[in-house]
Structures are given as structure tokens and as C-alpha cells.
Amino acid sequence: MVFSSMTYLFVFLPMVLLAYFIAPPRARNMVLLAFSLIFYAWGEPIYIFLMLMSITVNYVFGRIIANNRAHHSRYAKLNLGIAVGWNLTALGIFKYYPFVSSQLRGIGLGFIPGLKLLLPIGISFYTFQAISYLVDIYRNQIRVQRGFFKFALYISMFPQLIAGPIVRYEDVEKQLSKRKVTLAMFGNGGEFFLRGLIKKVLLANQLGALYVQIESLGVAHTSVLTAWIGAFAYTFQIYFDFSGYSDMAIGLGKMFGFRFPKNFDYPYTATSITSFWRRWHISLSSWFREYVYIPLGGKRVSPAKHVRNILIVWMLTGFWHGAGWNFMLWGLYYGVLLLLEKYVIHDRISSHPWPGRILTFLLVTLGWMFFVHTDFSEMLTYVGHMFGVGCAFSNATTGYFLRTGLVVLLLGAFFSTPIFHRLNEQFAVKYYTASIALRIAMFMLCVAALVYQSYNPFLYFRF
């Protein structure tokens, strides 16, 4: 189930709110857990077993590691290894096996069976959460969770279940046992949820439609500028899609008394690639820093090893986003950019933020074009168009897309900056009735857009 669906908004959400706040405080964790499992099972029930298995395995290994880390640290390490291995195997099989096996068969290893596996939704997120939990126990940074259901809730909590943020255990440890929701906090959650919904439904979907239209243009209609408009549309789309989802997750968490970490911090205003990655999908980049980059030695090693570390981390980051060479390429692209920034450009860039900001944005935009095209020839064609290979600089169609896409692109740009956020907050404090009226109106527009998505005329005038 996704948050921006009719089922969620008008059936699931009212039910979970009602059940949660009617239930006595002791039972609330169970209510949340039960609804989380339903949420997860909705649509692909079979993978609920994988989820339950993962919960059990990680719970038990957590206990084993905790019991042994003080006196039998080698044994604890062994068990940590087994547990992490188990998690990675599960992730590997379900996410990467189909890709890897098809590649291997492609190079002549025909005996490798190709399994037909659907990617279990959210597996990349909850697996990473479980690994962080185990490692943190081993490192003695957190205390083990003895309550099975509390642990189950930590892994499967529906707000962050399918698209993050990747919540570290220490962030929610206390709240799992004791949390309080005030009306103001609930309202704050509502604010986040609405913001996320607006980003997803009113911005991301429209931008996505614009991108799809441009992407499917034939060679006859496309041009350099058009290709860039499409690339910008996608750049904003993926930001609003992803950050909208994170906002909704954070908002829902707040409604139930959880405080999830921030996942995005205006990444498109970053002045360098390094700073972009400190602002984009923060919970993922900090995960990789914490559990891969630093264990490898971080930057306190020789430059050669540092280069190796960076490339490994970014290749993995790329691969985490999907099983495909293009994701790998996309990750390495950032690895190289970061190395360039570190070793070549250094501090030579001007102190003024704008040149860096613009350059970073353009590089990120280009990066997304590697990200979005799983097919290499399509990627080359599209990127080629962006740099004028085989098409004109601009044509009449460019004008068409400029005119029809201008509003949504400008809105996208505006919503990506903290200026909007500041204004919004000031307005809310000053004219609070008006700004709530505005939110109601926006919510109604979201509902309208959701209803329109199902507008699906059956016109038999052709048949």
C-alpha cells in the first residue's frame, strides 16, 4: 500500500487512527504492529513471511550478540557475521539474483537457473535497519531489545516501512517503550503528512507526466532544450516523490509519537556534490558512512586506499538503488565527482555559492539521466540529445513544453528551497486561520488529483 492511495487515505488511515487512540496505551504497540503487518501484506501477502522471518532471525541474533559481546567477543563477532550474512543473502537473492543470474548466463554460464522473483517491497530499507541494529549492539552503542513485539514494531513500523527513512534503533529506542502524543505534535505530524502528500500528488506526478511525455518523443520532435526540460522535470520529480514520501513517513511517525530523523535537507540548494550528499537521503548516506566507509578506514588512510574506499562506497550506494549497470554507473559517477571535488577542485572554487550551486544542480540533473535509463542505448540517446547529438538546439516543441511545463517547474524550483519553508512558517504563525484554510484547499486538490488518476474513460467509439 502506498500513502497516496484511496485505500490508505480513506480506509486504512482512519481505521488505524481510531484503533490506536481508542486502545489503552499498553495495547498501542500491538495495534501499530498489527496494522503494520496488514499494511505490508496488502498487495503482496506472501512476503509477510519473509518479513516475519527477518524479524525473528534478527531478534534472536541480537540477543545472542548482546549476551556474548562482553565475554565472548569473538563468538559475538561470529554471530554478527552470520546474522549480517543472512540479511545480505536475503537482500541479495530477492533484489540482485535475477539481475546477476541473467548477466552470468549472458556470458555463457547457462547452467545458472533464473529464478522468477518479485522484489519484496521495502526489503532494502528494513534489511539495512536490521543490520544497523545488530552492528550497534555489537559495538555496544545500544542496549538489546528484549521485547519481541517491540523489536518487530521497530523493523516493520508502517510509516517508514517501504521507503524509509532508515531509522537507527537509537533514534526510536525510548519511544518504543514510552511515548506521548500531544495534539500539537499530532498537528505537526499532519503538517508533514500534508506537505508530503502535496509534494507527491501535486508536484511529483505532474512533473513525472511531463518527463514521460518528453522521454517518449520521437527524434523528429526532440531538441537539446527539450531534453534538458525533461531532465529537470525528472530531477524535481524524483526529489518530490522521494522526499514527499519521507515527509509523509515522518508526519505519520509524529502522529503516533515517533520522531524519525530528517531525510532531506534541500539537496538542490547544495553548493557542492559533497554537500548534496549530506542533504540527499541522509539516512542512507549516513548508513553507508557508518557501516561501510568508516569500517574500511574512512579517509584516515593513504590516498590510494581512500580512493578505493570512496569508489566502493559509491558503487554500493548505486547498486543499493537497484539491480542494474546503470545504477552502478550512477554511483561511480558520484564517486568520481566526489574524488574530483576532494583532490582536484578542493577549495579553488569561488567563495560565492551560486556558481557551485548551479554546477552541482546541473551535474545532479545529468546524474539522474544515468539513474533513470536502465537501457544503455536509450541512456546514450537521451544524454546525447542533451548535448546536441543528432538534434537541433531548440524547436517549436521546446516552446510547447516550456509553456505547458513552466508553472510546475517553477513551483518545483520554489518548493526545493528553504525560502518557501521559511515563508510558509511565518505565514502560519501570522495568519493561522488562512494558512489552515490553504491546507484544506491543497488537500482537496490532492484528493481531486487522486480521483482523476482513476479517470479512465472507456470509449468505444473506436470499437
Binding site: 506472501i46 513471511f49 519473509l50 522471518m53 525473528t56 532471525v57 534472536v60 545472542i64 554471530n79 552470520i82 543472512w86 543473502t89 536475503a90 537473492i93 530477492f94 529464478l115 522468477k116 522473483l117
Partner: protein
């Protein structure tokens, strides 16, 4: 001392057992999930012709227009179609094998088959007992990309032969 040692050892055994079970459970689950059958590809029209010879039913191969007329299905919407229709209006036996292009078509095909059978039932109801028996025993098989309708005096044999041929 040794008692404590035993307890420790037993605990270790339990842990090993859990590790094994955890690993095994994952692989069993994967096997279970991935164990979706893959069906063999066959030359549909020829295959249906072969199947039609299994019984002595009165049927013959029909063209695409008959298919469109009776089932409302356009043959070129699908990857392949084989259709045997009744010889006369007093026969009910039919075979229709459709290989769909993608599985989203399956429901529509089964629906069309059911409508056809329902229509045939209205023709024979209270009239042709034998034909009604065949129609009541109509089988709709959905296997992979194949959708198969059997209305035959020996539907089980046809079904068995069909499955034998396409199952791996």
C-alpha cells in the same frame, strides 16, 4: 562446574541449531517463491489439432471469424490461438486454446469462454441432455500464458494430455 559447562554447551547447540534453521528457512522460502512453473512452448494450432483427435467428438477446426463471432475475441490480440468448434448445431464439443501476450489478458479470455458456455447452455437447456452434460463439465485451464477451454465428452483425457504436453 561441569554442570555449568553442560548448560553452556547446550546453549551453544541451540544457537547452532537456530543458525541452521534460519539459513534453511530462508532457502526453503526462496525455493517456495521461485518455484513457479514454467510451461513449455507449443505450436498452438497444431497442438489443438492433436488434442482434438483424442476423442470422437464431433468438431472441426474453425477460422478466426468464427472465434470473433462466438467468443468476441480477435485472434490477433493474442500470441496464438487454436480453435475447434462443433460440427453441427446439435454438437457442443469445443476446444479453444489461447496463448495470451501478457497475463493481464487472461481474465478477459476466461470471461469470454464462460460467456460462450453460458450461451450454449441456454441453447441446450431442457433440450439436449448429453450436450448439457458436456457443457456442465466445461473446463477452463489457466497455465502460465495458456488459457484453455475444453468442452468434450472426455474432458479429463484432453486435460491430461494438455497438461502432459506443456508441463515441464
Amino acid at each position: 562446574m561441569s554442570e555449568q559447562w553442560d548448560i553452556e554447551k547446550r546453549r551453544q547447540l541451540y544457537i547452532v541449531a537456530f543458525q541452521v534453521v534460519a539459513a534453511a528457512a530462508l532457502f526453503v522460502f526462496v525455493w517456495f517463491i521461485a518455484h513457479e512453473k514454467k510451461y513449455k512452448e507449443v505450436d498452438v494450432p497444431q497442438f489443438v489439432a492433436e488434442l482434438s483427435e483424442i476423442t470422437q467428438d464431433e468438431w472441426h477446426e474453425e477460422d478466426q471469424l468464427s472465434l470473433k463471432r462466438r467468443f468476441g475475441l480477435a485472434a490477433n490480440d493474442f500470441a496464438a490461438v487454436g480453435y475447434f468448434g462443433p460440427n453441427s448445431n446439435m454438437d457442443a464439443a469445443e476446444l479453444l486454446l489461447v496463448r495470451v501476450n501478457d497475463k493481464s489478458q487472461t481474465d478477459a479470455v476466461v470471461e469470454a469462454m464462460k460467456n460462450r458456455v453460458a450461451y450454449q447452455c441456454t441453447c441446450f437447456d431442457g433440450y439436449g441432455e448429453d450436450q448439457m452434460a458436456l457443457l456442465k463439465d466445461a473446463r477452463y485451464l489457466t497455465r502460465g500464458y495458456y488459457v484453455f477451454l475444453i468442452i468434450s465428452s472426455d474432458a479429463s483425457s484432453v486435460e491430461r494430455a494438455f497438461l502432459k504436453q506443456i508441463e515441464p
